[in-house]
Amino acid sequence: MKVSLDTIREWLDAKVLSCPENLKVEIDTVLACDLMSDLLAHPKPGGLLLTGLSNIQTVHALLAADMCAAVVVRGKLPEDRVIEAAEENGVTLLGTRISLFEACGQLYDRGLRGIPPEEHFSHVVRTPV
């Protein structure tokens, strides 16, 4: 199932914080991560990040993950310089007051899904250092 960021904005009663021109971008997967290394363990281009992290690292990590859309939850408003960085780099940030738990529940209710189990990060088999 694919849904536009604009539709998600509506569902989560979210404000657009940067790059409103990209609201037509379609999302097929949702990831919920407060810690950016968790995002980078299973990056999903074309996916949407739900996060409570509102500092510059959200933008930096999204770019490293080759992702361009995030909803910042819990009513946390990113600082101006974070929004500027998002604008400069084509990252669409939305903001909603609802909790991460509720945002996940609502998007799932509407039919969006997370990363399929077979794509989950699995333990690396390491050769001895």
Binding site: C33, D38, R74, C104, G114, P117
Partner: protein, 118 residues
């Protein structure tokens, strides 16, 4: 809903605090930022997180959550499990991601609350 029902229905693994499985779960909270949990999780919430270190126990007590679910196949660190056992706080584990386990909790009727935020 009783915690042991949640454990059974979602196939969670009990890692510590077995004695607390008759607790009532009244809502859910998902967060890996500890100050956020202290500020915003409600008493009786089931707390979904990837944090495994021993501060999780102190935060659980402060926030009065019903239990902690650790995601992505994580387990409490050794110190965490000992402390949780001593405090009677159930520590549960799932292979699923945060999004997936919250989705399934929601399906069971366990919901987050609306917040006005900071």
């Amino acid at each position: 809903m009783k915690l042991h029902e949640v454990v059974d229905k979602l196939g969670l693994t009990v890692k510590a605090g077995q004695a607390g499985l008759d607790r009532e779960v009244t809502g859910g909270y998902a967060s890996d930022l500890l100050s956020d949990v202290i500020a915003n999780a409600r008493e009786g919430d089931i707390w979904v997180t990837l944090q495994v270190h021993e501060n999780v126990v102190a935060v659980s007590l402060l926030a009065k959550v019903a239990a902690v679910i650790m995601v992505g196949g994580r387990e409490p660190a050794a110190d965490t499990a000992l402390k949780a056992e001593a405090e009677g706080i159930p520590m549960l584990s799932t292979e699923m991601s945060t999004f997936e386990i919250v989705a399934l909790l929601s399906d069971l009727g366990i919901r987050g609350g609306r917040r006005s935020g900071t």
